[in-house]
């Protein structure tokens, strides 16, 4: 069981969370300009690094807030995210 640190509630069991995938996948500025390949890229293609990965989590069984953290996909070591532009997201 992973221990995930919710920025609001503190350390909680992984079972209280849901995983939200890669962080910072921005909606295209002008979706009408995208061809099918680029739209497919936006919708489905995600990074898959063996190492540090920015990801979204939601504390479903707690405060129900979304937050980001950096997880090492090889070791599961987690670090709180460096706040960049996530206020209100």
């Amino acid at each position: 069981m992973l221990l995930v640190r919710c920025p609001w509630c503190g350390d909680r069991d992984e079972a209280e969370f849901r995983y939200g995938g890669q962080a910072d996948v921005d909606y295209p500025a002008d979706p009408h300009q995208l061809d099918d390949a680029a739209w497919g890229e936006y919708l489905f293609v995600r990074a898959n690094p063996a190492g540090s990965f920015d990801e979204r989590w939601v504390h479903t069984a707690g405060c129900r807030r979304w937050f980001s953290l950096v997880r090492d996909t090889a070791t599961n070591e987690m670090r709180p995210d460096i706040p960049r532009r996530r206020e209100g997201r």
Binding site: W8, C9, G10, R12, A61, G62, C63, R64, R65
Partner: protein
Amino acid sequence: MTVPHKVETDTAAAEVATALRHGPLEHRAAEFERRSASGARGVRLREEPFLTQLDLRTSPGSSSAASVADALGLPLPAANRVSGDEHDAVLWLGPDESLIVAPDGRAESLLRTVRTAQQGGSGSVVDVSANRTTLRLSGPMAREVLEKLCSLDLHPRAFGPGDCAQTLLGRVVVVLWQLDHEPGYRIMVRCSFAEYLADLLLDAMAEFLDG
């Protein structure tokens, strides 16, 4: 229809509704009593149904939040904390969300108080009293019982009176609130999960039944 007449009708309807309502665990009160134990290794369970619960959304640090706190006479709590006591309390639920808890029958007046305080500012308040029922678990062994079902560190150095947490007990999401040092806890649970949670708690309490 005149306004006074309407108020009388509403009052009568409210009285009928109060007379007809049932706590989700009402039919198990005798069983809770029978399976509770007193003494140095005792633990007791009972239902506290119908507590008034209002979900308050307000932006922390805003003037609206300050006037709500003034009107309630209680500061809005810090993270994972409760302000007030078991009769009048505000529980932290999230960075911009709190739960106001009061005895049965206070919803209308509290809603008016908070809405008046929020006028001109942002935020909302909603009566969610029917969402959850409350279980009261108390006695010297109450923490041992909870520790069988909960992954949180409930040792006094980490969790004490005036602390609250939304977490899992078994498979259900609850609001766990420690009231005093005995220790006594309130466990606020969705009505439809209350039977399941009561079964879990009674099972965890069984070993203390014979002292």
